[in-house]
C-alpha cells in the first residue's frame, strides 16, 4: 500500500513554521517512513501529483495568489491544517489591516524614509499578484480542519499532530503545546 501524502505551503508568512517542521530533527526519518511529501517547499515539488492526506498551511492570505494556492490545497487535501499564528489570525502581516492598502503601498514604495524611487512608481507588473484589501486568516477563506497555534508552533506540536492524524488517533494537544507565541 502506498504511503499517505503530505503537502505544505507558505502563504503570507515568514517560513518560521516550515523551520519548525524541520525542527522535528531525527524524527523526520520516521516521518518519511510514514508519509511521502507532495507539493512542498521542502522537496520543491511545485504542483500536486495526486490526492494528499494532510495539507499544512503556513501564513495568511495577503494577495490573490495566496487565495489560489489555499483553494488548491483545499481541493487536494483530505485534512487541511492552519499552522501558526499567521494562518490562524493573520499574524504580523495583519498589522496592515488597520491601514488602507494605498497608504501601505505608498509608504513601502514612495514615502518610506529609506525609499529610493526617483521614477515614483508603485510596482504594478501583471506578474505581481494583486494585494487583497486586508490579510485574511485561512479559515475565513476555506474550511480548515485543525489549527496548530504558535509563532511558530513547536516541533513537538507539529509532530504530535501529524502522528495522531496519520495513525487515526484524536488530535488532542496537551496544555504545554497550545501556545500563541
Amino acid at each position: 500500500m502506498s504511503k499517505p501524502k503530505i503537502a505544505t505551503a507558505s502563504l503570507a508568512g515568514c517560513f518560521g513554521c516550515h523551520m519548525s517542521i524541520l525542527d522535528i530533527d531525527e524524527r523526520i526519518l520516521k516521518l518519511i517512513e510514514l508519509v511521502d511529501f507532495d507539493k512542498s517547499p521542502i522537496d520543491d515539488i511545485k504542483e500536486f501529483t495526486g490526492r494528499c492526506a494532510v495539507g499544512l498551511i503556513e501564513g495568511g492570505c495577503a494577495n490573490e495568489e495566496n487565495v489560489r494556492v489555499l483553494q488548491d490545497f483545499r481541493k487536494h487535501c483530505d485534512i487541511l491544517i492552519s499552522v501558526g499564528d499567521c494562518a490562524i489570525m493573520g499574524g504580523i502581516p495583519a498589522m496592515r489591516n488597520n491601514i488602507p492598502l494605498k497608504e501601505c503601498l505608498d509608504e513601502a514604495y514612495l514615502n518610506g524614509p529609506t525609499v529610493h524611487n526617483p521614477e515614483n512608481i508603485t510596482p504594478n507588473d501583471k506578474e505581481i499578484p494583486l494585494c487583497l484589501d486586508r490579510v485574511y486568516p485561512c479559515h475565513e477563506v476555506v474550511k480548515i480542519d485543525y489549527h496548530l497555534p504558535g509563532c511558530p508552533p513547536s516541533a513537538d506540536t507539529i509532530w504530535q499532530a501529524l502522528v495522531a492524524l496519520l495513525t487515526n488517533k484524536p488530535l488532542e494537544l496537551p496544555y504545554e503545546l497550545i501556545k500563541y507565541d
Binding site: 492552519s82 499564528d85 489570525m89 489549527h147 497555534p149 494537544l173 496544555y175
Partner: protein, 234 residues
C-alpha cells in the same frame, strides 16, 4: 443567620462564611471558577462574565453572588465551558492581540484562559478594530489594542491609589479606557508605583524598560494552567 453556610459546587459540599461570594468560598475550598475581571483586592463588579455559574438553575456571576445555605452551584459543565470559550473568543476577535510580540505573553490572563479552555483558534471573524496607543508617559504605556475592558485599572486607580486616572468612555465597540488628563497619560499624575500599573491582566498597561524579562518556559502560565494555584490548595 448562622456563621457557616453549606452549599454545593458540582455536587461537592462546600462550607463558606456568611457574606462571602461564591467565588471567594470556592477559592477557599480549592475549586477554581474561571474569571478575568476579578481581582481579590478590588470590589467585584461582574463585568467579564467568565465566572458565570448556574445557581439553583439560573446563571449568575460567581464573583458578585453571595452564598446562601443549601444553594446548588454548577461550575464545571460542558455548557459553561462553551459559554466561557465564546467570551474568550469574542475578546480575541474584538481586539488586536498579537501574542508573538506582546511583553505580557506567557503571563497574560486572557491568553492563559484560552490555553486552559483549549482554544486553538477563535471561531468568530476577526474585526481588526482601530485602537490607539499612548506611549507619552516616561515609565508606562497603554496599548488599547490589547485592552479587554476589565476595569481593573479604573478601580485600582480610584479605590487604592485614590487618583482616578482611568475611566471608561464610549459605548459598545467604541468603549475604551480614557485617562483623566488634558490629552495623554503623561499629563496625568499616574506613577509607575501605582497599584493601577500592576493590575492589568493583559498587555494593555505595560511598564517601559522591562521587556521580556522572564525567559520562555519559565513564565507564569508556561507549564501550569491559570487557576492551578487555587486547585493545588485542595
Amino acid at each position: 443567620m448562622s456563621e457557616h453556610i453549606t452549599f454545593t459546587i458540582d455536587g461537592v459540599e462546600i462550607k463558606g462564611k456568611a457574606g462571602q461570594t461564591i467565588l471567594q468560598a470556592a477559592d477557599q475550598a480549592g475549586i477554581y471558577i474561571p474569571r478575568l475581571c476579578y481581582l481579590s483586592e478590588l470590589i467585584p463588579h461582574g463585568s467579564c462574565r467568565v465566572c458565570t455559574v448556574i445557581v439553583n438553575g439560573k446563571p449568575q456571576a460567581a464573583c458578585t453572588q453571595p452564598i446562601t445555605e443549601g444553594m446548588t452551584v454548577e461550575n464545571d459543565t460542558p455548557e459553561l465551558k462553551e459559554h466561557r470559550r465564546n467570551i474568550i473568543d469574542m475578546l480575541f476577535v474584538e481586539g488586536n492581540h498579537y501574542c508573538m510580540f506582546c511583553e505580557k505573553s506567557g503571563n497574560c490572563e486572557l491568553q492563559a484562559m484560552a490555553y486552559r479552555l483549549g482554544i486553538p483558534a477563535p471561531k468568530y471573524p476577526y474585526l481588526f478594530p482601530e485602537k490607539d496607543i499612548d506611549a507619552t508617559h516616561p515609565d508606562i504605556f497603554i496599548d488599547r489594542n490589547r485592552c479587554i475592558l476589565c476595569g481593573r485599572c479604573v478601580e485600582a486607580s480610584r479605590d487604592i491609589d485614590h487618583k482616578g486616572v482611568f475611566e471608561f468612555v464610549g459605548r459598545g465597540i467604541n468603549k475604551k479606557v480614557a485617562v483623566n488628563a488634558e490629552a495623554n497619560l503623561k499629563d496625568s499624575n499616574f506613577k509607575v508605583a501605582d497599584k493601577a500599573a500592576d493590575v492589568c491582566p493583559v498587555g494593555s498597561i505595560i511598564k517601559k524598560r522591562v521587556g521580556f524579562a522572564v525567559p520562555v518556559g519559565q513564565r507564569k502560565y508556561d507549564s501550569k494552567p491559570i487557576g492551578s494555584e487555587i486547585e493545588n490548595k485542595k
